[in-house]
């Protein structure tokens, strides 16, 4: 067992993990942050996407020990403390960007990364960004529309999402 300390959504967490424990299982089962989902556990579906030191990572393919000392962002950290949704979350709601919601945490984290790097993406760039995230419910269009809506709004108001 290894002691792991990391900062998740701005809060310090600590826990013990075996060498083989994935970051996803550590987040979900050890730290009880179950917002991050597992859809394939082999690195294709993107449901488990979190940001590690600001970069998207498949938490099913990363070991918890590799995240020791890292800054991790998960879906639980997107909304404000008062419950105000992150603009992307709000846009997902407005544009029906989710149905069963299982892919949603991974989609959101992937798109948070996209919008940080590319605040005004084209439709193709949005589709490209989520091409490693599988959604069986929506057909993706509403997710793309939600993202473009946020990007558009950010443009008119001049604020970063």
């Amino acid at each position: 067992m290894y002691e792991i300390e990391l900062l998740i959504n701005g809060r310090p967490f600590r826990g013990a993990a075996e060498a083989r424990t994935t970051l996803a299982d550590f987040l979900r089962h050890t730290l009880r942050l179950t917002g991050t989902h597992l859809g394939c556990e082999h690195g294709v579906c993107g449901a488990c996407t979190v940001l590690v030191d600001g970069v998207s990572a498949r938490s099913c393919l990363m070991l918890a020990v590799q995240a020791d000392g890292a800054i991790v962002e998960t879906v639980e950290g997107l909304a404000e403390h008062d419950g105000t949704l992150h603009p992307l979350q709000q846009a997902f709601r407005d544009a029906h960007g989710l149905q069963c919601g299982f892919c949603t945490p991974g989609m959101l984290m992937t798109l948070v990364e996209l919008l940080r790097e590319t605040p005004h993406p084209s439709e193709d760039e949005v589709r490209d960004a989520i091409s490693g995230n599988i959604c069986r419910c929506t057909g993706y269009q509403s997710i793309v529309d939600a993202t473009l809506a946020v990007a558009g709004a950010a443009g008119t108001e001049g604020s970063e999402p």
Binding site: L33, H42, E76, L78, A79, L85, C100, G101, V126, Y140
Partner: protein, 803 residues
């Protein structure tokens, strides 16, 4: 329901039905606060893994669990024999059939003598973590003697074929004929006869959340079973029987369900094995399917082989269709014949067909058992029919849309009775819809008539573009009923309790909207409790695009009864005639005055207080229950038009335009309807071009990851253009028709039609799905060789391209 209202209660409301109300489900799901099966944590919970068969057919000689049992952190390693003391049968009951019948085709709770497909569960391992359970599962030794396999359903029908299971006398589970009219006469009098052999391959449902079961032992030996299922009540009834439990000793609950798409309609061995083991060990147990297990143990569908012969008159009007259909049932039949029956009876779809005869054979193979995946037999039937329509057009030199137009059921013939019976035995009556107008509208939106000109120009530039179309009709809203209880709480907020099962489709929002309008409250003030057998005594669940129609109708009736009751109670309390009262903003108001009573106040009075007067003429409780009954289906229809560009040197297909017209009757929430249609289309595109569940000749699955089995991602898609018609169904009080499957059903047929059209210069006929690049490339190469290098010429375009 409690009392049918003599007249409509007067309700003044801004209707929420018909508006894109934001979903009530979304907030927890967006913030990571959803609670799916694997998110449930209980004290002292143990974790499970299954030892599954690595071979497709074998006799089990010996199961040695000793090494596994001795491992650290392992709590138990259980075979069927270990579980039997807690089971009334080692074999699953025949699903969806309360009638006792022959049961030599359902799966076993755990296999103990023979395995019949790769993935069949044999041993249940219980440990302190899933990691440890999997470690121990790898240490279980099972000695097998291999047995021959049947891999192709057509060959498996032969009397000398190896048997899928040694207990069978034949691999043919069932053979039946579906038909009507004088088919022989139809063919004798035909101007043209065309024939084709079509095959469609199997795929998986692949909800992003797999299956999962949690069996919780509660104080007093009570069992609470959580399952990611579409059928909580079915599971409740089945477990009572399988575990020999009193009804009050068991509760079944569905947490948030991460998608269904059919496979969660069946009840599975794991859903019995875990509860039985939990009772045996007196410990709470959890098992969550991993993706590899989805590939080798969750229901798959669509392996069918159709031989179709069609007779038409000189005007291309259908005279008769005959043929045979071989349905690959896989190793077991959790449900008897639902899919092939759906397929065989749905083939003629929106068309007038005077005579029909289809011989259906349901045949076992050593593959994962087969039941519904989104569409449930309909996509195959539509593929067979629509490809046949294209064949007639090509053969007679007619426009493909024109051939269809000549055969569509005209609106003035609605309701239209097909000479077939639905599975319930009721007559198959198309209740409503305007199929010619649907086709017209979709074609106009897609620019069908201009396409030949564009195609000619593209071809001159060396680009192969094509257009295709498909019509579909889908029976939705299957009964016999779904439950709906509407109850007003002490605070005036409303709760709906239903047996319908939410699995991500927005059921709660739609039901809340229906209820809200009847009670003049905002939908946000309505909560929906579904998927809990302790809160809803009766229910069926999710299948056949049924829940909005059935549960929606029950909720509509129950909510209306509550409104009427509130007005009657208010009339008694306020001593004002009922016709002077109206329900507005959650209050019963005296129309010309300022007195009013809130729904919460009325609910408090109707709960009863010992020693105080009770309003006259009303029953206790501000609530009503309805079980809207139906034996008929509400028929939704769709017309899809697709444009593609094919790169013949690679066999790759790009979908460049997708226009889908959908008529699912009255739309309760257009935003949700559109989401269903878009998601459905993408599933169908997957079936057409990408999704291929492969097996080798020894029935070893060869696609068990998402790297081998391709799901459609965002980059393969154009913007999907949806058009909606709303022909209300006269068959239910809300006028709705189902929409969960109508996007999927015609999609593969339309895409393939377009691909074939793009490759018309090569003279290729495509009678199969899917056509991934390698398949298409082979077809193109074969055609090139037979054309001996001739360049495509104008006259090689099919005749419907002539302008």
């Amino acid at each position: 329901m409690t009392g049918t209202p003599a007249s409509q209660p007067r309700v003044v409301t801004r209707p929420s039905v018909g508006r894109p109300v934001p979903r009530l489900e979304d907030l927890p799901l967006l913030t990571g606060a959803g609670r799916y099966l694997d998110d449930i944590e209980l004290p002292e919970l143990l974790h499970c893994a299954f030892v599954r068969s690595p071979v497709a057919h074998a006799r089990i000689e010996r199961i040695d669990v000793e090494a596994a049992r001795a491992m650290d952190g392992v709590h138990a390693v259980l075979t069927l024999a270990d579980l039997m003391p807690k089971l009334t049968s080692g074999r699953m009951p025949l699903g969806a059939s309360p009638i006792k019948g022959e049961n030599s085709s359902t799966p076993f709770v755990l296999a103990d003598r023979e395995v019949a497909y790769v993935g069949e569960p044999i041993v249940l391992v219980v440990a302190h973590s899933r990691y440890l359970a999997e470690d121990a599962a790898a240490q279980v030794q099972v000695d097998f003697t291999p047995l021959p396999v049947a891999s192709d359903a057509r060959a498996a029908m032969a009397p000398d074929s190896p048997l899928v299971r040694t207990e069978l006398k034949s691999n043919v589970l069932n053979s039946f004929k579906v038909g009507f009219g004088d088919v022989e006469a139809a063919f004798a009098g035909a101007a043209h006869v065309f024939s084709d052999v079509l095959s469609q391959h199997r795929g998986c449902g692949h909800s992003m959340e797999g299956r999962g079961v949690l069996a919780e032992i509660r104080p007093g030996d009570e069992l609470c079973v959580w399952s990611s299922t579409q059928m909580p009540h079915d599971l409740y009834y089945m477990l009572q029987t399988m575990l020999g439990l009193d009804q009050d000793a068991l509760r079944v609950v569905t947490p948030d369900v991460g998608g269904g798409f059919g496979p969660k309609y069946c009840l599975y061995p794991e859903e019995v094995a875990l509860p039985a083991a939990a009772r045996l060990l007196r410990r709470s147990l959890k098992w969550v399917e991993d993706r590899r297990e989805t590939f080798i143990s969750s229901i798959q569908e669509r392996d069918q082989y159709w031989s179709v012969e069609v007779a038409v008159d000189a005007e291309a009007r259908l005279l008769g269709i005959r043929g045979s259909l071989v349905h690959d049932q896989g190793a077991y039949a959790p449900k008897p014949v639902n899919l092939p029956y759906n397929g065989a009876t749905a083939m003629s779809g929106p068309y007038i067909l005077p005579a029909y005869s289809m011989d259906v054979h349901v045949v076992h193979t050593n593959k994962v058992p087969v039941s519904s995946v989104r569409g449930a037999g309909y996509p195959q039937a539509v593929f067979a029919m629509e490809r046949t329509m294209d064949l007639i057009a090509a053969g007679m030199g007619l426009d493909r849309a024109e051939v269809r137009r000549r055969n569509l059921i005209p609106p003035e013939q609605m309701p239209y009775t097909k000479k077939l019976k639905a599975r319930s035995g009721a007559a198959m009556v198309y209740d409503s819809g305007d199929y010619p107008a649907s086709q017209r509208e979709a074609l106009a939106a897609a620019g069908w008539d201009d396409f030949p000109e564009r195609q000619k120009r593209a071809l001159a530039e060396g680009r192969y573009i094509g257009i295709g179309m498909a019509n579909a009709v889908k029976g939705t809203g299957r009964g016999p009923f779904e439950s709906g209880v509407v109850r007003v709480g002490q605070n005036g907020k409303v709760s709906i309790f239903t047996g319908a099962a939410a699995m991500g489709q927005g059921l709660a929002t739609a039901l809340a909207q229906i209820c809200a309008d009847q009670l003049a409250v905002p939908p946000e003030d309505v909560t929906v409790i579904s998927g809990d057998t302790s809160k809803t005594p009766l229910g069926l669940g999710g299948f056949a695009s049924r829940q909005l129609v059935t549960a929606g109708s029950s909720v509509h009736l129950a909510a209306r009864a509550v409104a009427e009751k509130a007005i009657r109670a208010a009339s008694s309390i306020l001593e004002v005639d009922e016709d002077q009262l109206e329900l507005r903003e959650g209050h019963v108001h005296v129309r010309d005055g300022n007195r009013s009573l809130g729904l919460g106040e009325i609910a408090r009075m109707l709960r009863g207080a010992p020693g105080y007067a009770f309003p006259a003429g009303v029953d206790p409780g501000l609530e009503a229950s309805a079980q809207w009954r139906t034996d008929s289906l509400a028929y939704a229809n769709a017309c899809h038009v697709v444009e593609v560009e094919v790169e013949p040197t690679l066999g790759s297909v790009e979908i460049t335009r997708y226009v889908a017209l959908n008529d699912s009757g009255r739309m309760i929430n257009p935003m949700i309807v559109e989401g269903q249609v878009q998601g459905g289309i993408v599933h169908g595109i997957g079936n057409a071009l990408y999704e291929f569940m492969g097996y080798d000749d020894s029935c070893q699955p060869v696609t068990t990851t998402f790297q081998e089995y391709l799901l459609v991602t965002a980059t393969e898609l154009p913007r999907l253009e949806t058009i909606f018609r709303e022909t209300p169904s006269p068959k239910n009080p809300i006028g709705a028709k189902g929409v969960g499957e109508t996007g999927t059903i015609p999609a593969a047929a339309a895409v393939i039609s377009a691909v074939e059209n793009a490759l018309a210069p090569f003279g290729i006929r495509i009678s199969q799905t899917p056509v991934p690049p390698q398949s298409l490339f082979r077809l193109i190469e074969a055609a090139r060789q037979s054309q001996a290098g001739q360049p495509p010429r104008r006259k090689d375009l099919p005749d419907d391209q002539e302008t």
